[in-house]
């Protein structure tokens, strides 16, 4: 008999193999074939196959696609929450640090939808589960630069929660979205607004609020600048509702008198303030660290002109603002 630490002598290749070891080899071979055959068979007969076309798409183009989709989608209000109603059977979901653009949405049971999954920034994980049955869950990788189209059809009505399960930065754990699967009356759906174009109001600040400037278009800017000139105390909420989640400045544009102190108050988590442009001689530094709900910072604006600023992680979905000092 051979030790594993000495070189075997003689013709070890021709030595017989124990009968039970031979049987085990056979069993193992059959099992490996079964595993493979079952997997192949499931693509034909099974209902769960993560196969679908992938398209190369720039993050900018994807953002536009999702934007266009959202503008053409109607809305349904359920329990005080506005849900997107896909106009056709295409559902767009754009992942970003740290939210899901295109959600929440409402889908009909039994209907087959084409999910378009993509990312605006880094890699994310599209991890979906039925709230009533947590073991009904799947996870799909989402890559920037690619759009993955996957068909899905839901039989069980209920709430489906989406979390990110690929590490995407410090706010990773806060990334949550959802969609409802339920029947709804067409008459309860609010039709999309015909005019999807931005700005055109009294100021456009060089197109800062449109998708042509850095980041996405700012949805909650309707072209009007809130006039707070003369007020001695002005507050801007950071991370109020809007922009597909809690990523908006409210008001997005405000005009104040010289020497006014503006307080920025955080209403949700993971936001910062970065200054895009400010008048010559102005010294506003913004606030770079990420802060959470409850935080506030203030700045006294001495130099007149237009200050454009944004939230870095949510620039992609248009979390942008303006302070105009007159």
């Amino acid at each position: 008999m051979d030790s594993p630490i000495t070189a075997p002598d003689g013709d070890w290749w021709s030595e017989k193999i124990n009968r039970r070891e031979s049987i085990w080899l056979g069993i193992s071979g059959v099992w490996a074939l079964t595993l493979f055959g079952w997997m192949l068979g499931w693509t034909e007969f099974g209902a769960q196959n993560q196969t679908g076309e992938t398209y190369e798409v720039s993050t900018e183009a994807l953002r536009q696609k999702v934007q266009t989709y959202k503008q053409s989608a109607g809305t349904l209000t359920v329990d005080g929450e506005e849900l997107l109603v896909p106009p056709e059977n295409d559902v767009y979901v754009g992942a970003l640090q740290w939210g899901w653009d295109g959600l929440p949405a409402v889908l009909r049971p039994g209907e087959t939808y084409r999910f378009h999954l993509g990312s605006y920034d880094v890699q994310h994980g599209f991890s979906v589960r039925n709230a009533d049955n947590l073991s009904q869950q799947i996870s799909l990788q989402v890559l920037p630069g690619y759009e993955w189209v996957l068909e899905m059809s839901f039989d069980d009505p209920g709430t489906y929660h989406v979390v990110c399960n690929e590490f995407c930065g410090e706010g990773h754990r806060s990334m949550h979205g959802k969609f409802l699967v339920r029947d709804y009356d067409e008459s309860a759906v609010t039709a999309p607004e015909e005019d999807g174009s931005e700005s055109g109001g009294d100021a456009d600040y060089g197109g800062w609020f449109t998708g042509d400037a850095a980041g996405g278009a700012t949805e909650n800017y309707d072209g009007t600048t809130v006039d707070e000139t003369g007020a001695d105390q002005v507050t801007v909420t950071v991370g109020s509702d809007g922009e597909g989640g809690t990523a908006a400045f409210d008001p997005p544009a405000v005009s104040v008198s010289q020497g006014t102190t503006v307080t920025f108050e955080w209403a949700s988590n993971n936001h910062n303030l970065l200054v895009d442009a400010q008048p010559d001689g102005a010294d506003w530094g913004g606030h770079e660290p990420f802060e959470n709900e409850g935080f506030s910072v203030e700045h006294t604006f001495e130099t007149s002109g237009v200050y454009t600023y944004y939230c870095e992680p949510h620039l992609g979905i248009g979390m942008k603002g303006v302070v105009e000092v007159v």
């Binding site: 594993p4 070189a7 595993l35 992938t54 991890s127």
Partner: protein, 575 residues
């Protein structure tokens, strides 16, 4: 080296080991000590960070903030999955090559250079992680582009990978010289296993160069961007390939330790070697299972690569799963240490930590790590495993339980046979493998339950409180309580190993030598080839092993069927 050793060398620098009968040269032994102790240092660092990671995921404690959690998790992952493993693997190559062949280590200076480069890389990676500053993020293990990590991190990773390649060269040179002097001679099985390990390792490390050099160039601004799909495919060559090194090194250690401590023989040279050759061709392709739930790669590509893994690597693992216990069964039957079906097992030296660690490693790796690995390697099932805590359970079953136990077992014998020190704190040494293996086993079961049954994601500092929503994974809470306690016990078990190792080095009695275990290792060796005197290995009964393997197959089929059942309850996905 280090002055801990109690052994003397002859004028040529050789000594004979009175347990294994191996002729060991100082040049190789020094390097085994150096690499082995460095590995244990990495184990201690990674284990210390595991405390904070486990206490954060156990949200009843919730120790760390999100930012700190990712930093600690990264240090934990790099030290345990990479540094503890790879330093130990280089030591295993030097045992499997020069030790077993009875040769000097060729190019000993290159081995020293390799250590310096690897150590520099490891220090740099750790420092880069700990000093990560925004906009850079903690790399975790994967550092997926385009989420940026610091360029120092990528530099450190590159340096470490290059160092490991350099450190493998003296092993390959030793084999080369041996074959030059002994043309046509078969390598011992353990050396053969180590050789295949080194080839698989070089493939993986080359993947590391392709991964980290472009990423480094991207971070210093030479490339404007990198394709994330390209990065993922290249990354997993090293990302999973490095874990295949663990697998092969571990299996080599299984053959080595069951023999040295339990008196195992080779059940069939042909079968065991064929299984290693299957690994050589197929195991690294198995890494494709990381892209099973990815866009970009086609269904055909994914199926093809999974079929490789199913045919090649799984088959090879199932062969070793039989061959190693069979070798033990035959060896012990031949030495009169067996009766009935499992007499060879009951009579084994279960109070020898080298033996118990090895057997626990085989069982836990197979049942917990191997089976789950095959599950998630099936394309459709992968959707339910991908990036859940169950995935983390899988690789804690393979690497943190299976491989780590095997390396601990080897560590116990490195203390005795290389440093010449018997174990201090003997009673602790005896229970340590059981404590560590049992607690780790429970920990990984909880990870798998929470991941599969509740869909709890990995890489989250908290899942019981998701900002901005009432939704949470709170039904999984009781499982996390068990997880938390088990994880702490496991870390305690790991710490006890480090304590025993250090105490033995510093205060251990000189090791008196053979016999170890309960059998004279060489007693029934030699003879028995067909036509020779004595009874050949294949002529002994392997019925105990066969029954054990059928139990394993039963568990395999049951878990596989359950996983497919769970998948079938999910809504329709795909055409």
């Amino acid at each position: 080296m280090f002055g801990f050793s109690t052994y003397e060398y002859d004028d040529d620098g050789f000594r004979e080991c009175n347990v294994t009968g191996l002729s060991i040269h100082e040049s190789a032994e020094d390097m085994v000590k150096l690499y082995g102790l460095t590995a244990i240092l990495a184990l201690a660092i990674g284990g210390a960070f595991a405390v904070a990671v486990a206490l954060t995921r156990w949200e009843a404690i919730g120790l760390l903030s999100a930012g700190d959690f990712y930093t600690y998790l990264s240090v934990h992952a790099w030290n345990l999955l990479i540094f503890w493993m790879v330093f130990m693997e280089i030591a295993i190559l030097y045992v499997g090559g020069p030790f077993v062949l009875g040769r000097r280590l060729s190019l000993p200076r290159v081995a020293k250079v390799g250590w310096v480069v690897m150590a520099a890389g490891a220090v740099l990676v750790n420092a880069a992680i700990l000093f990560t500053e925004y906009p850079n993020q903690a790399p975790l293990l994967t550092s997926y582009v385009p989420l940026p990590s610091s360029w120092q991190f990528y530099l450190g990773a590159t340096v470490f990978v290059l160092g490991a390649i350099v450190a493998a060269v003296p092993f390959l040179a030793t084999i080369w010289h041996h074959q030059q002097e002994n043309p046509g001679k078969t390598l011992p099985l353990v050396t053969f296993g180590a050789f295949i390990t080194s080839v698989v390792a070089l493939e993986a490390l080359l993947g590391g160069v392709i991964t980290y050099v472009p990423t480094l160039l991207w971070r210093v601004g030479y490339f404007e961007s990198l394709d994330p799909a390209f990065y993922r495919q290249m990354y997993w060559i090293i990302g999973h390939g490095s874990q295949q090194i663990n697998l092969l090194a571990m299996i080599t250690v299984w053959y080595f330790l069951t023999h040295v401590v339990g008196g195992a023989v080779v059940a069939s040279q042909k079968v065991s070697r064929a299984a290693f050759v299957l690994y050589l061709f197929f195991i690294n392709l198995g890494a494709a299972h990381h892209l099973m739930s990815d866009p970009v790669v086609s269904a055909g590509w994914r199926m093809w690569n999974t079929s490789y893994a199913a045919y090649g690597a799984v088959l090879a693992s199932m062969i070793h799963a039989f061959a190693i216990p069979a070798g033990l069964e035959v060896g012990r039957r031949a030495k009169g240490k067996a009766g009935g079906l499992f007499g060879w097992l009951w009579s084994s030296p279960w109070d020898d930590p080298g033996f118990s660690a090895t057997i626990l490693s085989i069982i836990l790796f197979g049942f917990l790590g191997g089976i789950t690995g095959v599950m998630m390697g099936q394309m459709q099932l992968n959707m339910t495993w991908h990036n859940t805590l169950a995935t983390v359970g899988h690789f804690h079953a393979t690497v943190a339980t299976g491989t780590t136990l095997a390396f601990m077992g080897l560590g116990y014998y490195v203390l005795r046979l290389v440093f010449g020190r018997d174990w201090s704190l003997g009673p602790i040494a005896k229970i340590q493998p059981y404590l560590y293996g049992g607690a780790m086993g429970l920990t990984v079961l909880m990870m798998m339950y929470t991941g599969i049954l509740f869909g709890v994601p990995r890489r989250h500092p908290s899942v019981m409180d998701i900002p901005g929503t009432a939704f949470s994974f709170s039904p999984a809470k009781p499982f996390f309580a068990v997880f938390g306690v088990a994880a702490l016990l496991a870390i305690l078990g790991g710490a006890l190993f480090v304590v025993v190792a250090l105490a033995s080095l510093l205060f251990g009695e000189p090791f008196e030598g053979a016999p170890v275990g309960d059998v004279q290792r060489a007693a029934a060796d030699g003879g028995g080839r067909a036509g020779g005197e004595g009874k050949a290995a294949h002529a002994y009964s392997m019925r105990g092993t066969f029954v054990l393997c059928l139990v394993f197959l039963g568990a395999f089929v049951t878990l596989w069927a359950l996983n497919w059942y769970l998948l079938s309850t999910i809504w329709q996905i795909g055409p």
